[in-house]
Amino acid sequence: MTSLEFRRVSKRYGDRAVVSDLSFQIQAGERVVLHGPSGCGKTTVLRLLAGFLAPDEGAVLIDGTQVAAQGKVWVEPEHRRLGMVFQDLALWPHLTVYENLEFGLKAAGLPSDARRARIEDTLARVRLSECAQAYPTRLSGGQQQRVAVARALATRPLALLMDEPLSNLDDELQDELCDQILDLHAQLGFTLVYVTHSKEEMRRIAARAIRIGFSR
């Protein structure tokens, strides 16, 4: 579990301020939803947390340590111990489900047996054991969603970032996956930062909500 903090963070794309003087703290193990209208910078906040972007001003802290500040990334994404589910899932189409999960574990240097055990355990948690050798493009939308969650959790991150992960699914699947995400949070205890503009998802996921407004 890990705590996350934005300290007076601003981010601009050219002349356009996307995030302006934003501050918040998320405690370890907390379940937080970032919400706000489309284009208000919710995804940018996640990308700043993940380390894909550096803030122009202010600082991003993980467990009290400054990981990015004043235009510089101090701690690279792979060293932040974060998992992320992307809006378009970003499953690697040339790798099987098993290999998608294995990629991060190999990079972490886990031996083969430990990798296999971890992958089997993670796939079982999202009820996808039978799909291990399938390629992602062969799976249904709901299954792909669960693979993305499994891949993000395989390395046992301290925090999980989710960027509107259910936006492309029908209501029934959204309900089912919301339950599954809550179950996984309860089982593994990670800090959850969940971005959505859906009030229903926010109601179901959020223990606390942070509203992101438009920057000028």
């Binding site: 894909f52 792979e78 040339h94 990629f103 990079a107």
Partner: protein, 503 residues
Amino acid sequence: MGRVLSAKNVTLAGAAAVLIVAGLLPLGVMGAKSLGHYGPVLSNARNWKLLANSLLLAGSTTAVAALAGVPLAILFGKTNLPFRRLFAVLFSLPLLLPPYVLAVGWFQVLGSSWLFGLPGCILVLASCYMPVVMLLTMVYLRTVNPALEEAGRLSANGWRVLTGISLPLAAPGVILSLLLVFLLTLGEFGATTFLRFDVFPVASFTQFSAFYDFGAATAAAMPLVAITLAGLLVERRFLHGKTFAFRWAAPAESSRIRLRALGPLLLLAVLAAMAVALPLSAIFWRGASPRALGDAFHRAGDSALRSLLYAVTAATILTPLGFLLSYLIHRRALPGWRLLDALGLFLFTLPGTVLGIGLIVLWNRPATNWIYTTPLIVIAGFIAQYTALSTRLMLAGLSQVPVAMEEAAELSGAGWVRRIWRILAPLCRGSIGAAWIVTCLFCLRDSSLPLLLAPPGLDTLTARTMTLMANGAPDLIAALCILLVAVTALPLAALAFVWRRRA
């Protein structure tokens, strides 16, 4: 559903017919003409030796181009190396020139003893065609969805993401580039003639130019047709369905590999100097005297003007032709779109000598002398050979424009011609400009087609230079190459001018 004889269908079918008449018909006639002449060609031991030489040269050149091109693409496309764009441009320059210009340059640097023969040919052709591998790999690496790389960066460093995700996804582009280099080298005979390494394209060229034996020339060309066809079938077989859903996107800065710049930068500077600057500098050193340049202009000034005229005319035809064919392929607008796409690529990789002989066999008859005895036959050759270039560049642009944009115009009541003219063409203007410039440059650098096809007294600078290379003084040859570089620079200067004005 539209009418069968709509403006759209008629226009697209017309564009397809142009490619078929310019490229496929000559090959068909050539195939028919070659029947009955295979015996002597196949029983000639020298031809087998030449074929082995060609395959050895093509294989070695491809290997060297891959070993240099892929790492350079990674360095320029995926790292934070300073001046990486400048380096990429520098390394791409040889692609703009006929390979024999580089051969002349290296000859000035190294002299004959080391350069002549297989190693020299590999050096020259690999430095000439390496940019194909480098540029295609860079393009394919750039089209990998950044989110796929960022997903990897959460658990792995940049190198691991590159080798595990980016490169496997770009592999179809790398393999395609290697195939192109192999086939382009296989058809090369200008540089190999200068470097005195006998290759197979010479066999059919000799039958045609020395003995004027059409039957034997066409039969001797057929093995190259077969190899080209086999190469493309292999590409279709192994790469079919392996191109994943790519999209153009800004490269993900988070997946850029951070280098300590100085070491690789120095290494690159040395490599660039060797591969590009050294031979070109040597040509300028040797040929840039007023006397040599004056002599070159006196002997080939008119050819230089014709080169420009032919290239500009061909590019101006190839650009709308490529646009229409890319539309046909992208929208699958007519049956056989897949075959048409394959035909274009096949003609692009076919040796110019083979295509040239086919065009002569087709058009050298009294009824069509108005084509055969005029520059039209050179333009027809350029259209056959380079339609794939304009089509592919246009496809890249067209695939960025959502189909809904055309559909919205259609719902507004706009006819097909108006939709093309007012919606799609303006949205694809970048690709249209790129297609014009690239095809113009490739027509300017082509030597095989003009050498075979240009009517007497109407040759191009590349053909004139090759003819004079046989017995011209080294100063004159170097000066002719400078003239060639200058002519090639003209469209690039025009491009730079347009860019500056737009900026």
